[in-house]
C-alpha cells in the first residue's frame, strides 16, 4: 500500500514537478535539518494539545448543559453552530487584534475547531442510556448530577472516544491553520508551511505535512490504545477480530 503510494507520488513528481516534489527531495530536507522540523513540530503539538484540552473542557461542560437543560440547548446550539461555520481563517487576524501576539489566538482557533465534534458526540452519548438503566436509578432518586456522573458519562464514553479520534488530528490542523493565519506566530509547522509556500519550497511543505501526518497518526494510535483499555466492556470491543 505504502509502496504503491510512493510509486504514484514519484510518477506525479516527474510529470508535475511544479506540484509534487520528488520524494528524495522531501527526504533530504527532513534528514538534512531534523532539528528544524522537530522544534516546529513540538511548538505545533503544544498548541494543538492545549487548544484541545480547552475545547474538551468547554464542550464537555456544554454537552452536559445542553443534554440536561432543554432551554440551554436552544440557547447554546445556535452559538455553537455560528462558531462552527465561521471560517476561522477569516477571523484569525481579528483575534490577534483582540488578544495580542501571544499563544491565545492560536489556542482559540484550535479550540474552536475541536469544539463541535466533541459537543455533538458527547451530547448524543449522554442521552443514549438504556431506558431500563435510567429507570432503575430513578427509583433511588439519583440526582441529575449523580445520574450524569455514574450513568450518563460512562455511557457516553464510546461516543467521546469517537469524538477524540476525530478531534485529535483536527487539533493539529487547527494549530497549523492558526499559525498560518493568526498573526504573531513565528514558529510551528504552520509557519514553516506558509514560509515555504511563499518561497515555492515544495519539498519543505510536503516534509512538514509528512511530520504532521506522523503526529496525527501517533495521537490517533494513542487514543485507540487508551480506548481499548477503557472501553473493554463495550460491545464495540467484544468482537474477537478486534
Amino acid at each position: 500500500m505504502i509502496v504503491l503510494l510512493a510509486v504514484l507520488w514519484q510518477i506525479g513528481s516527474v510529470t508535475m514537478p511544479y506540484l509534487l516534489p520528488p520524494l528524495s527531495a522531501i527526504g533530504e530536507t527532513l534528514v538534512g535539518n531534523p532539528g528544524y522540523y522537530l522544534t516546529n513540530a513540538w511548538v505545533t503539538l503544544q498548541e494543538a494539545l492545549l487548544g484541545l484540552v480547552f475545547a474538551f473542557i468547554a464542550s464537555s461542560i456544554l454537552a452536559i448543559a445542553i443534554s440536561e437543560v432543554a432551554v440551554l440547548r436552544r440557547a447554546i446550539m445556535p452559538i455553537a453552530v455560528v462558531l462552527n461555520v465561521t471560517p476561522l481563517v477569516a477571523i484569525a487576524p481579528a483575534l490577534v487584534v483582540a488578544f495580542g501576539f501571544g499563544p491565545e489566538p492560536k489556542l482559540i482557533v484550535t479550540a474552536i475547531i475541536c469544539f463541535f465534534p466533541i459537543l455533538i458526540n458527547v451530547s448524543v452519548g449522554l442521552r443514549s442510556v438504556p431506558t431500563s438503566v435510567v429507570q432503575f436509578y430513578t427509583t433511588v432518586a439519583a440526582s441529575r448530577a449523580e445520574m450524569l456522573w455514574h450513568v450518563r458519562v460512562p455511557n457516553a464514553l464510546p461516543y467521546l472516544f469517537a469524538a477524540l479520534k476525530i478531534v485529535l488530528p483536527l487539533s493539529i490542523v487547527g494549530a497549523v491553520v492558526a499559525e498560518m493565519f493568526a498573526p504573531g506566530a513565528a514558529e510551528g509547522l504552520g509557519t514553516a508551511i506558509s514560509l515555504a509556500s511563499s518561497n515555492n519550497k515544495l519539498s519543505v511543505i510536503y516534509a512538514s505535512i509528512f511530520i504532521l501526518a506522523v503526529m496525527g497518526a501517533t495521537l490517533l494510535a494513542i487514543v485507540t490504545a487508551v480506548e481499548r483499555r477503557v472501553l473493554h466492556w463495550h460491545d464495540s470491543h467484544s468482537a474477537s477480530d478486534d
Binding site: 438504556p130 431500563s132 438503566v133 429507570q135 432503575f136 436509578y137 430513578t138 427509583t139 433511588v140 432518586a141 439519583a142 440526582s143 449523580e146 455514574h150 450513568v151 460512562p154 464514553l157 466492556w233 463495550h234 467484544s238
Partner: protein, 277 residues
Amino acid sequence: MDSSPAIRIAAARKIYGSGATTLTALDGVDLDIRPGTFVSIIGPSGCGKSTLLRLIASLEEPDDGDVEIFGVSPQAACAAKLVGFVPQSPALLPWLNVLQNVSLPHKINRGAEKRRPTAAAAVSNRPATDLTKLLHDVGLGEALHKLPSELSGGMQQRTAIVRALGLQPEVLLMDEPFSALDEFTREALQEQLLDLWDEIKTTVVFVTHSVTEAVRLSDTVVVMAPKPGRIVDVIDIDLPRPRSAEMIKTGDFHHYEDLIRDRLQAAWRSPELPTAA
C-alpha cells in the same frame, strides 16, 4: 405498624400510545397495601403487571387516579430512598463489576434519610448492609469482580436482586425476580427474601408467574387480567408462617393454588391470548 396503607393506588389508569394505537395498560386499578405485608401480583403476560410496578416506582405517571407511598407521592418516596426496585430486565451497568453494580445505589442520594415521611420513619436507621456477604449468600461470591457480560442470565438477575435488597427499602418492588433461576436457587432466595422481610418488616410487591411461589410467599395475592389491565381478584392467604416445604403439600395450600389458578385461567381466557392447540 401504622394502619394507613404503605401503598395506596386509587382509580389508576395508564394509557400507552395515542390515536388509533391507544392501549389501555391499566384501568381503574384500586389497591391498598398495608405496611409490612407481602403482596404478589400474578396475571397473564402483557396484562400490565410491570406497568403497575413502574407506577408505584414513580417511573410512569398515571393518566388518571392516584398513587401514594406512605402518604407521599412515589417521587417523594424514591427521593427518601424508601423504594427498592428489581426490574424485569436486570439493567446492570456494563462497565461496573458485580460488587460495584450493587454498591452504586448506596453512593447515590445520600441525604435520603432526611426526606423520609414520618409514616416510614420508624423503620429507618438500620445497620448498613454487608453487600459482599449478601452476594455470597446468593451464590455470587466468586463473581464479585466479574462484569455483567461475563455472567449467566441467572447471575445477572441475582445481582439485580442484591442491588435492591442491599438498600433495605421500606417498599420492595420485584418484577419476576426469580424467573431465570433454577428451583433450588429460587427456593434459597425465597428463604432469604422472607428472612429479610421478617427482619426489616418491609412491604413487598412481588410480580411472579408461579402460583406456588405466590402462595408460599404472600399475605395477599392480586390477580390481574388484561384488556384493559385491571385487578380481578385480591386473595388473602391465611396460612401460618413460616411456611415450610411440607406445607406446600397440604390441602390448604393446594386450595389456594387451585383458587388462584382458577381466577388466573379466567383472566387468561380474555380475548386475544395464546390459543391452546
